[in-house]
Amino acid sequence: MRKYLTVFAVDWQNQFIYRLNFVLWRVRNILRLLMTYFLWRGVFNTNVSVFGYSQNQMLTYVFLVLLVQTLVTSAPSSDNIGGEIGNGELSNYLVKPVSYIGYWFTRDLSSKLLNIIFASVELTLLWLVFQPELQIPVHLLAFVVSCILAVFIFYFLNIATRFVSFWTPENTWGLSFLVIILIETLAGGIFPLDILPHWTNVALQFTPFPYLIYYPIAIFLGKITGIYLLRILFQSLLYCAIMYYFAQIIWRRGLKVYASEGR
């Protein structure tokens, strides 16, 4: 455990090296929030309720996307794992008494903490500027639990995708973009998923995506309650386990074909 705390501490320091990069990354996130915020504001100018959402609910959704998406998808692992496998740097970790999967999870956590601190400050400032009426949480505890599960689901899904580099050592940029787009749309990062036709929504729960952003926020807003809430939490847990085993299997198979000649 202590070794992972040290990984956390070292990564934490490392994050302050690229300050400009970090600030620009945060600016990008704020700009995206502003775009969706004003879009929905415009829509609610002429409507009282859209797709079953009141203005308060929708604006809360937009604010929460920034928070949940920052928490779940802040992951330096996604920029590094593919490269490390491709160029053989993975060997550095394999020879040490440290778990590669645990190592990158720890570094992700360090990044999440820093990003969440910034996201909280940004949201407070934006709230002070625009003074929107927001919805108070309905199931705060369930929201927190589903967020934590989402972090794990995302991590395992993410590394499983990166492990494709074992078989295609070239930079898997195309794949990365595909995953980013899938996560942003299918997870509910751009709009709440229940504005889609009902059957799409039902079908999506059989993919890991809505568990990352949409369900946690829907729980917060009270769109998911009672037995349905328990079922969604249970399914989140199930996805956690499935994605974990999925990532493990790919990791083990990948290690069998892994080579780092000349390193």
Binding site: K3, T6, V7, V10, I17, S91, V95, K96, P97, R263
Partner: protein, 226 residues
């Protein structure tokens, strides 16, 4: 044992050492002792807190070594430890490897393109060619086993020597008057040398083993040599 490039590029090397200490679960006291010894051996006290990206290649190589040695490994695999270093640094690196081997009683297995590394450091040499072991033993044994010739280098004091005269003595490797290099059978070397001294006026004569590089090259190409 880690590999090159395990240091955190943007942080001082000391941070990477601390991380490795924790990963290998080295006790504090032992860590401090080992670090002090390594820092002293490599003379890097004043650059421990400099960002790795700002170090020179040689300095970084030293830091990589410390990072790899902080848990006192019993076996050390070094792949080209002196590559790309200037001659002064190469010598320091060699001295360090020898010293580490003695002080920590560690086995060092190294590969190198520089025969100087091998000559200075290795008690036992293993030559592998296309996956097959072709030699395993002490360095002098290679010379005995493969070099059945010696090289005689002569500098004549008069310019009246003909190539044909020398060719009677042995294989002439080079002839640039007044200097000639002749390869002769090991057993007949003293006799040939005596004859040269007798028949010609000689300014300088030198009897030597073929260069270790040449021998190894010949071992690989499978030709007779010297």
């Amino acid at each position: 044992m880690g590999q090159k490039n395990q240091l955190w590029w943007d942080l001082p090397a000391i941070e990477s050492f601390i991380l490795n200490k924790e990963i290998y679960e080295v006790p504090d006291a032992q860590y401090k002792k080992t670090l002090d010894e390594l820092v002293e051996l490599l003379d890097v006290k004043d650059i421990l807190k400099v960002q790795v990206r700002k170090l020179s290649l040689g300095q970084r190589m030293k830091m990589e070594l410390i990072a790899a040695l902080i848990h006192s490994p019993k076996i050390l695999f070094l792949d080209e430890p002196t590559i790309g270093l200037d001659v002064v640094m190469q010598k320091k690196m060699r001295d360090f490897i020898r010293e580490y081997n003695k002080r920590f009683n560690a086995t060092v297995i190294l590969t190198s393109h520089y025969m100087d590394d091998v000559k200075e450091l290795c008690q036992r040499v293993i030559i592998i060619d296309k996956g097959k072991l072709i030699f395993d033993g002490a360095l002098d044994e290679i010379i005995k086993k493969y070099a059945d010739h010696k090289l005689i280098t002569v500098v004549f004091s008069k310019n009246n020597v003909e190539l044909s005269d020398l060719e009677k003595l042995g294989e002439v490797k080079s002839f640039e008057p007044p200097k000639a290099v002749i390869s002769v059978k090991r057993a007949s070397a003293p006799r040939v040398a005596a004859r040269i001294l007798e028949d010609f006026s000689v300014a300088d004569i030198n009897l030597e083993e073929p260069q270790i590089e040449d021998i190894i090259r010949e071992v690989f190409t499978g030709k007779d040599f010297a």
